[in-house]
């Protein structure tokens, strides 16, 4: 059984770079980050069930500036993956494949992820 002479699909590097490609890989990266982030969610829940001291530990970590930075990144990753995930669901339904639509939905995803992140954090700080 020889596999060596089979035709290969064109390698990633020969494609002309387009910024929508960045959205694609960021979808995967945010997905992996969010999967790791489920550790935080479960830690928070288990600590809340375990008792006041365990819960205070979680709150102390989250309140630290480094913890807040991670949570900020987590918030954006969630809203990005959510927005771009909806874009993917439209593609799965066979819609939105036109070039112009693809670029428009890409912009919509970037703006929606930033707007939702801003909204959540401004509301969190009681600013809005």
């Amino acid at each position: 059984m020889t596999t060596r002479d089979r035709p290969l699909s064109p390698h990633l590097q020969i494609y002309r770079w387009q910024w929508t490609m960045l959205l694609s890989i960021v979808h995967r990266l945010t997905g992996v980050a969010l999967a790791v982030g489920t550790l935080l969610l479960v830690w928070w829940l288990v600590a809340a069930a375990a008792g006041p001291q365990a819960f205070a530990d979680v709150q102390a970590v989250m309140a630290h500036w480094l913890g807040r930075l991670v949570l900020l990144g987590f918030t954006w990753a969630l809203f990005y993956h959510l927005s771009n995930g909806i874009r993917h669901l439209f593609w799965d339904a066979g819609r939105g494949f036109e070039l112009a639509t693809g670029y428009a939905s890409a912009w919509a995803v970037v703006l929606a992820s930033l707007a939702l992140t801003g909204l959540a954090w401004l509301a969190g700080y009681g600013i809005i």
């Binding site: 995967r28 999967a35 288990v46 809340a48």
Partner: protein, 126 residues
């Protein structure tokens, strides 16, 4: 008739015929997670700065506890399906690949059970 070589058949290489089920489960959980994530985000923003008693009271409300259980199951199922694809795409050493996929699935089940148990324990007043 099958066009596959005898050696290929004997080695069991090729499609495991699970692709469609995997694909569908990924989409099903994705659709469920759209409203669930928005609900949870709104709930969490409302809990910022809240003390332990308030957080427990929120988690323990029947609707919240039930939605948290669904959120955990859908999230971890979606996550392990996605991580499996990532590992299959980038890890080409067969042993490392299988070990990685197993680790992801074990971790998902463990985290899911821990989270669900915690939510139910709070809800049942433990």
């Amino acid at each position: 008739m099958s066009y596959r070589s005898h050696l290929g058949r004997a080695r069991g290489l090729g499609s495991a015929r699970e692709g469609a089920g995997h694909w569908w489960a990924q989409r099903l959980t994705a659709v469920a997670l759209v409203p669930l994530c928005l609900w949870f985000a709104v709930g969490l923003v409302g809990l910022i700065g809240a003390d332990h008693v308030t957080v427990r009271a929120w988690i323990g409300m029947p609707v919240n506890a039930a939605l948290l259980v669904v959120l955990l199951v859908a999230t971890l199922h979606h996550a392990q399906l996605g991580l499996q694809v990532v590992i299959e795409d980038y890890v080409h050493h067969e042993g490392v690949k299988i070990a990685g996929i197993m680790a992801v699935k074990f971790a998902a089940i463990l985290l899911g059970l821990a989270g669900v148990f915690a939510a139910l324990k709070i809800s049942f007043g433990g």
